[in-house]
């Protein structure tokens, strides 16, 4: 991933993928991958934001806020809302919910 992406950019290697900070507010997405340092990725994973997780984007910018609304299989009422610095949000890749 390039270090800096504009909000309109998509990762060039995969059409249909968005970085978290380029997502639509209110949209529901599936996390494709998290390209962060191991410690940050592990922290997000423990908070539920990991590959395959469904999230709702609550806010884009500084900070970006995403709400984890499910894991791989279940649709639940959980609401882990995570504030993420924009620089990190750029390195989280999403795809639209199927």
């Amino acid at each position: 991933m390039p270090a800096v992406l504009t909000s309109a950019q998509r990762p060039p290697d995969a059409p249909g993928l968005f970085s978290l900070d380029a997502a639509r507010v209110g949209g529901i997405y599936i996390v494709e991958r998290v390209d962060l340092e191991a410690a940050d990725a592990a922290m997000l994973r423990a908070m539920g934001l990991r590959g395959g997780a469904m999230i709702r984007v609550c806010r884009v910018g500084e900070p970006t806020v995403a709400e984890v609304i499910s894991g791989h299989t279940c649709r639940c009422q959980c609401r882990c809302r995570i504030g993420i610095a924009r620089g990190l949000a750029r390195r989280i890749t999403l795809k639209r919910e199927a």
């Binding site: 529901i28 410690a39 940050d40 592990a42 922290m43 997000l44 994973r45 423990a46 908070m47 539920g48 990991r50 709702r56 609550c58 806010r59 910018g61 500084e62 900070p63 806020v65 709400e67 984890v68 609304i69 499910s70 894991g71 791989h72 299989t73 279940c74 649709r75 639940c76 009422q77 959980c78 609401r79 882990c80 809302r81 995570i82 504030g83 993420i84 610095a85 924009r86 620089g87 990190l88």
Partner: protein, 691 residues
Amino acid sequence: MSDSRATGGPDTSAPATQSQPDCGYCEPTHHVDVPEGALRVAILGNPNAGKTTLFNRLSGLRAKTSNFPGTTQEARVGLVQGQAPGTTIELIDLPGVYSLELEQTEAFVCREVLAGRLAPKGERAADPDAVLIVLDATNLARGLLLTGETLRRRLPTVIALNMIDLARRDGAVINASTLAHELGCRVVEVSARTGENVAALVPLLCAAVIPNQTPPGAVDALEHWAEELYARCTGLAKPGEPPQSRRSADVTDRIDAVTMHPLAGPVVLLAVMAGLFWSIFSLAKYPMDWIQTVFGALSLAIKSWLPPGILSSLISEGVVAGVGATAVFVPQICVLFFLMSLLEDTGYLARAAMLMDRLLRPFGLPGHAFVPLLGSHACALPGIMATRAIPNFNDRLATILVAPFMTCSARLPVYILLTTLLFKDRPWAGSLAFIGCYALGIAAGLLSSLLARRTFLRGASRPMILEMPTYKLPSIRTALLTTYDRGWMFLRNAGTNILAICVVMWWLGAYPHSEPPPEAVALHQQADALEQTNPRAAKPIRAQADLLEAKDAKARSFAGMLGRGIQPIFAPLGYDWQLSVGVVSSFAAREVFVSTLAVVTTGSDDNEDQGVIEQVQHATRDDGTPIFTTSTSWSLLVYYVLAMQCLPTLAVTAREAGGAKWAFLQLAWMCGLAYLAALVVRQVLLWNGIA
């Protein structure tokens, strides 16, 4: 663990645990002694799962705060009366973690405590008798991951399904008996906020058993296990079904639309902070006045009870003054922590930290530094201790080093004196100067941090990842308990240091004893002669004699000698020996400056008296010129904004930063910068013809 284990403690008569009702409020004590044989229960849970609220609900005031040895992680230990008469449960409130396997201090502490290798300071390390896992019922899926990791430790376990009231309100359906069956341990639906069903936990903790289920160890498999378990307990695993309506999430969205708005968010933050400061200074004013009055009266009473001499002077001017100097700030500390606790409980503080992250990061500070820096505006000690919540060491160190630049309450008497002297008939200009002092302190802190991150603490601050809990009504009970805990910790940590320092400063100011000057003796004789015939005329003469005597004694004391000795260093700033004594004596604690100066220049330490400020203003140097010229006053004001004049802060810096070298660096940098800035201010004023 069986019931017999629960009731089999050998010593059940420890005073701290006797005759305590379940509420734990009837015998408020902060020094809890854990009796031998008490059942040790570790409380574990995700951040924001309500773990500490449950801890407070269970133990009330029967709790103490320390830290885990070798770490700066705070440890709270509380006592609860067990089910059987005479039995006691020792609760250990572990740091909130998302996973036991993360590479962070919080997770390390949890792992070590669960393994029986670590215990809070002063406690014996041993395997916990049980683990109480606190799950947030409104966020169950995430909590199950931590539950799985904990169950693999094979410890007697009880699950508290907390915030069940909020989950029900949102329409969530959680089958607690299915969850208990799947996990193989007891599950209790509770609300720590309202107290619902909390008492039911006590007998279950006494009879906790090792769960008969062992979740998988691999992370992927554990996540899958947690999701499947969640689905079975909630019955919501229907593919294609949209997420449920979440009322509180919608409310949170609406509030966040304002509080996190790029323009409105900072305005709201400013308004909240302004309200916080207004409350700190206005609400705390009255108890501060009462404390000052009480300690003043106590000092006078001791002087009248005891015969004049060393003991009377030591107790009234050393011990009582020292305790009073610390105690007077307790109301501000308490108001600060009460309001901060309420703000944290509502969920707003996490938003404020995220907002501040954008402003602080260019200066090498993380958003996490916001709360410590805010707290430092009341007192740097709790501010520095609050840096424990900053996960990255360099970020934390940078925050510790610059926190004392924030204007603490102890600087206020100095600001009041100097701005009054500078702008006596222009209160609006005085107010602007006052605000300018705050701004200068903040700017110096931010620029110092930037410099540190470009030199010896190289690297940018780590971008933030922070859970932003849904908004909810705060718990007054939790806020009160936090306030009590923090207030006491402040008194204990700072009071002992400041007391010792004040006694030393008293000794330096009181010794060696010198004979009164001939002028004072002559005035005393004159007053004695008039006492019988005209007592009213004798009074001012005696006061004048006392003033001369006090000034002379201070000048001849060790502090006076020191002041004269270092005066050449401060001469470029315009300070004579009297101001130098004030600066030296206030090195122990800034607030001492005003009282010392009042004694040196007027012979009275009653700085509340406007007449004393008048006298200070007209105090003269040995050559008869005024001490407080415009340039000297400005120079002194800038010096006090920037200088490190607080020994307890240095002691806490050394402890929290992990070495005395950081305290020395802080001292040298702040005092050096203060000296340089004060020198520049004075010289610029002199060049412009302002003496």
